[in-house]
């Protein structure tokens, strides 16, 4: 007696989901169950066409905007490309007076500050995600996830403001002396202690990318099948062993994807970084030293770029930034998608 309604229910659902599931080229063919003649008025067919046209135009606008971004960046940076060629990417010189430009210090600063941010942010956000999904009491979970979400909503200029007046003095007085004393031998923590500099930029970036890494990691962890956990626990694993063996191992590609997505955010972050990094185009091993990034140099010098070559060099930096973030983000989406596509809640795409 119990099986009949359930069977009927399953059948009904299958029917109702059919138009979504079969994503053929003629996506709306299935919806026209009613014969066209019954719809009667020819106008409705025309109106359907017009509506569809408008919606398609909106979608084309998205493609056009990305196309325009690429087109404008390439067009405006042609001059610099022609003048400096490939050496632009590997030169260390930045001399607006002599109009000689190389992007290497900025690429270095972007990569180092972002990697530093990942080193700090990834363990913390994976920990937070595990806590939220596996350990946290239900009442705390809602509050904590709201807090993490609010962290994501703070504007970057406020992070920068906080970075200048709170974080930098704190690093100078408490963290940098400690690091210099015990880890100075690595060469990473030497030189004058200003507070601001590469280290401060890394810390600020870490705080800024925490929410995105944590929320995606959480999604990925939730996607790990329950039976995996139960199997580990049934074999006598402790909670941590269960998390390590069945949850983290299964979620690893997704966590990697979340990390890369965080990297994409960190690479392009502008305001907070430019306010604390010190804005000096030098390659120095010590993390106490000031640096510069692709995004921060555009923000700082764009308004004063008077000569054509200077302007073009800055746009080319924008192009480099665009291409790098594009690759990084595509890689990340692919990884996250490969994990969460099996989720019942997300039958899309």
């Amino acid at each position: 007696m119990h099986t009949v309604p359930e069977h009927r229910h399953a059948q009904k659902r299958q029917v109702s989901e059919r138009p979504v599931a079969s994503g053929s080229a003629s996506g709306d063919a299935e919806l026209e169950i009613v014969p066209k003649s019954r719809l009667g008025a020819r106008e409705s067919v025309v109106a359907d066409g017009i509506f569809r046209g408008i919606v398609v135009l909106c979608a084309l606008a998205v493609l056009a905007i990305v196309g325009l971004i690429v087109f404008e960046l390439v067009r405006e940076s042609k001059l610099a490309m022609g003048k400096f060629g490939f050496s632009f990417l590997i030169k260390q010189i930045w001399d607006p007076v002599a109009e000689d430009f190389g992007a290497l210090p900025f690429i270095y600063g972007t990569v180092v500050s972002s990697l530093l941010a990942l080193v700090i942010a990834v363990p913390l956000s994976v920990g937070t995600a595990l806590f939220l999904t596996e350990l946290c009491p239900r009442a705390v979970r809602a509050v904590l996830s709201l807090l993490v979400e609010l962290l994501a909503a703070i504007p970057s200029v406020i992070y920068g403001l906080w970075g200048i007046f709170v974080l930098s003095p704190f690093l100078r007085l408490h963290i940098q002396p400690f690091l210099g004393k015990y880890f100075g031998w690595t060469g990473l923590f030497t030189g004058p202690k200003y507070g601001w500099g590469m280290l401060a930029a890394g810390v600020i970036l870490a705080i800024m990318i925490l929410p995105i890494i944590a929320s995606i990691t959480r999604e990925v962890i939730t996607a790990v099948p329950r039976v995996q956990r139960e199997a580990a626990l049934a074999l006598g694993a402790t909670k941590w062993e269960m998390l390590r063996m069945s949850v983290l191992r299964n979620a690893r590609p997704g966590i990697f994807g979340a990390t890369i997505l965080g990297l994409g955010r960190a690479l392009g972050e502008t305001m907070a970084v430019t306010m604390v990094i010190g804005n000096r185009p030098e390659i120095v091993k010590s993390l106490f030293a000031p640096g510069h990034t692709l995004a921060s140099v555009i923000a700082n010098e764009f308004a004063e770029a008077t000569s054509a070559a200077y302007f073009s060099a800055l746009v080319e930096m924008g192009l480099v930034l665009f291409v790098v973030t594009l690759i990084v983000n595509a890689l990340a989406s692919l990884l996250v998608w490969s994990i969460t596509r099996g989720m019942p809640a997300r039958t899309l795409a």
């Binding site: 994503g23 806590f131 504007p155 941590w240």
Partner: protein, 287 residues
């Protein structure tokens, strides 16, 4: 048979508790900056907050008094014009993805929207500069609105798509079965059902662009005086905070903190309102 806990070796128990302790610690450490930032913004910002701050324009650098009224109004206008560009395009693209985009073309648009979402805001600023400022030959509110509007599109379209897909297929079929044409079905039935969800998507996009500074630096540019013209450079709250923060005067710093307090209040209000609407159910009558 379940094994009693005490037979688990000390090493395993120890590593279990250490790991769980570290995980809990990580969660605590993550919330710490949030409290610190909020506390500092309120503590340092509240002192200068006054009626004058909200109604007057800035005085000269380092001078006492003055406010950010022009920047607050400028920000609101920028957000308004950005929405004029971003909201219709975003919703339109979202409708395409959900209703017509279950195929190869949909995947291309979906991927492109994700790419646009990942483009650094400063690069969008560069593009708006090349598109509008270079053509107009001067900075303007229009250029700033274009930059912010572009940034709204991917957020709104992807969220709209998700919300539209939550609308049960049976509702669409019921409308079509009554002989209502597809366009009417989408406008009056599907979008109507999902309206709360779409409103949240707009607010999400709003919260995202309200604090953006980088794309405005060489588009809206900033202005120390009143300017309500779409054709003129305009002040914006994040720009004003930035320029005060890097000035060497204590008075300017104090004003930057107050500006931050105003900005953060606006954004948090939006986000919490968004959470409230979302928790009320993104879809009316879905079940």
């Amino acid at each position: 048979m379940p094994r009693p806990l005490h037979t688990i070796s000390l090493r395993r128990r120890l590593s279990n508790w250490t790991a769980l302790g570290l995980i809990t610690l990580a969660a605590i450490v993550v919330t710490l900056p949030l409290f610190l930032i909020f506390a500092t913004v309120v503590y340092r910002g509240i002192g200068q907050l006054s009626w004058a701050f909200l109604t007057q324009i800035p005085r000269g650098p380092g001078e006492e008094g003055g406010g950010m009224a022009n920047a607050i109004v400028g920000s609101i206008m920028l957000l308004g014009f950005a929405s004029v560009i971003g909201v219709p395009l975003g919703i339109g693209a979202g409708v395409f993805l959900a209703e017509y985009g279950r195929n190869k073309w949909g995947n291309i648009v979906r991927f492109t929207a994700d790419v646009l979402n990942g483009v650094p805001s400063i690069v969008i600023g560069l593009t708006a500069y090349a598109l509008v400022v270079v053509v107009q030959r001067h900075f303007s509110m229009l250029a700033g609105s274009v930059a912010l509007g572009i940034m709204m599109i991917p957020t709104i379209s992807r969220t709209t798509e998700e919300v539209l897909l939550l609308v049960p297929q049976s509702i669409r079929e019921a409308a079509l079965g009554l002989g209502i044409p597809k366009w009417r079905t989408i406008l009056s039935v599907v979008l109507r059902t999902a309206s709360a969800g779409i409103v949240t998507s707009i607010m999400l996009a709003f919260a995202r662009i309200a604090g953006e500074t980088a794309p405005l630096m060489f588009t809206a540019f900033g202005n120390q005086y009143w300017s309500l013209s779409l054709n003129q450079p305009t002040g914006a709250l994040p720009l004003q905070i930035f320029s005060y923060a890097v000035m060497p005067y204590d008075q300017a710093h104090a004003q930057a903190w107050t500006g931050a307090l105003v900005l953060i209040t606006i954004i948090m209000f939006t986000v919490i309102l968004f959470r409230f609407i979302a928790s009320r159910g993104a879809i009316k009558g879905a079940s």
